[in-house]
């Protein structure tokens, strides 16, 4: 079986996690895609950590407002019923448990629920931005990542080697091959995505994986 990286698969599956009315913070990059696939009938409210609630899609060309950007600096809009606030209130909302879920990209994630995504010592040090507060504060922390890096190594690990963004905070990991819960120090495979198989995932992932008794094949489309 050949691995074909698919950000869309990850975004589509994560988008099914949310309940109507959930307040969600989506990290920069891959997690931002999740907003595109929220099922019909489910309305989520997006929190933008740079200071507002009710993050909306990109504006029409020509309608960009330099004062209305997301945490990545991209032009966005605000939904009716949104609200602006300062960074202290933004992170009070995040750290205080008022955000139902956050979706974050990772460099590494391990079976203890540790997550690393802000620093490769001596090489790349973007900084943690809001990620440390989001992982500690959001009720549900979902790590979104392609299953393998460019060298073919699994990004799901027994133990993160890079400096941690947060210790023991990840609840779910969604890759382009399956959906995992982090529980009692192992990954628990809940779903595997067609065409991948349980055997493939167990063989290729250098981490402890328990196959959930209700584990099932899912076709993401």
């Amino acid at each position: 079986m050949e691995y074909v990286a698919s950000k869309e698969t990850i975004a589509k599956r994560i988008a099914r996690i949310f309940k109507d009315g959930d307040v969600v913070n989506l990290g920069i990059g891959l997690p931002t895609l999740v907003g595109n696939y929220v099922p019909e009938g489910v309305t989520i409210v997006l929190q933008s950590e740079n200071g507002f609630l009710g993050l909306g899609p990109a504006p029409a060309p020509g309608a960009e407002d330099p004062a209305l950007v997301n945490a990545g600096g991209g032009f966005v809009t605000i939904q009716p019923g949104g609200a602006f606030f300062d960074s202290a209130m933004s992170f009070a909302i995040i750290r205080g448990g008022h955000v139902d879920a956050t979706v974050l990209g990772v460099l590494e994630v391990d079976q203890q629920g540790n997550l690393a995504n802000y620093k490769i010592p001596g090489k790349l040090v973007p900084g943690m931005g809001g990620a440390m507060d989001l992982t500690v504060g959001a009720k549900l922390v979902v790590a979104a990542t392609e299953h393998f890096d460019k060298s073919g190594a699994s990004k799901l690990l027994r133990t993160c080697k890079l400096p941690l963004t947060a210790a023991n905070q990840v609840d779910f990991v969604c890759t382009d091959v399956g959906f995992f819960e982090v529980r009692n120090g192992t990954f628990v495979l809940k779903e595997y995505f067609k065409p991948y198989t349980v055997e493939y995932i167990l063989e290729k992932t250098d981490a402890d994986i328990v196959v959930d008794k209700d584990c099932r094949e899912v076709e993401i489309s």
Binding site: D20, T43, V45, L53, G54, Q79, A88, R95
Partner: protein, 225 residues
């Protein structure tokens, strides 16, 4: 944006259970939610802990008894956490006679402890109260030669707010000095109930002037005119 349930004051106070910590907005009653207080008095839930700036007015001579003072008079609280009780003779009486536990907290410390709970902080270090009775039993932390008290976050179960205007999503603005503790208690409680003078459609409140964002609010109640 998702609309929050609009309920009656009577329905709202059913969410308060015996033993709960109830935070009530207001400063000497200015900014307290009258309908929710009356409904809670009518329902008679007891054994509560009150967190509020003060216990409003109760004067034995004139018989005046306002806002949360009504609940104090009905002895619905086993514990009262406030900064000031000088305007309520019944609270003073219950404290002096040992009927109710009254904890006096400096007003700024009360504000920060409530905010800390809402902001996911364990507490704050404040110079307020150093060298006074407020220091008793608390950890003193010295930083750069100055002493601070470690004041722990103060969370609650149910917050009762008064707002001037809410939109149906739960965004709030307040009326002048009636703002006071209302935005803070909205951060710190599991269940946040707002008695609003006016409830407008989603999109009718300018996002720039919202004081309490919708995410902090769970139920709306229409104030009686």
């Amino acid at each position: 944006m998702v609309a929050k349930p609009i309920v009656t004051a009577d329905e709202a106070v059913e969410l308060i259970r015996e033993g709960d910590t109830v935070m009530v907005g207001g400063f000497l009653g200015c900014g307290s939610p009258p309908g929710l207080i009356d409904a809670l008095e009518k329902r008679g839930t007891r054994n509560l802990t009150l967190v509020c700036n003060d216990t409003a007015f109760h004067n034995f001579k004139t018989g005046v008894c306002t806002h949360v003072a009504k609940l104090v008079a009905k002895k619905q609280f086993r514990k009262i956490v406030v900064s000031h009780i000088g305007t309520n003779q019944e609270t003073q009486r219950q404290m002096n006679e040992g009927e109710t536990e009254v904890v006096l907290v400096p007003q700024g410390t009360l504000a920060e402890r409530i905010r800390a709970a809402g902001a996911g902080l364990g507490g704050v270090l404040t110079p307020t109260g150093v060298g006074t009775e407020v220091q008793d039993g608390k950890q003193v932390v010295e930083l750069d030669g100055r002493k601070y008290l470690l004041e722990k976050a103060l969370p609650g179960d149910v917050a009762l707010l008064r707002a001037k205007k809410a939109d149906k999503a739960g965004n709030l603005i307040f009326d002048k000095a009636a703002r006071n503790f209302n935005p803070l208690i909205a951060m710190a409680c599991r269940t946040v109930i707002v008695e609003a003078d006016e409830i407008v459609e989603i999109g009718r409140l300018d996002p720039e002037i919202v004081v309490t964002p919708s995410v902090l609010v769970h139920y709306l109640v229409r104030a009686k005119k």
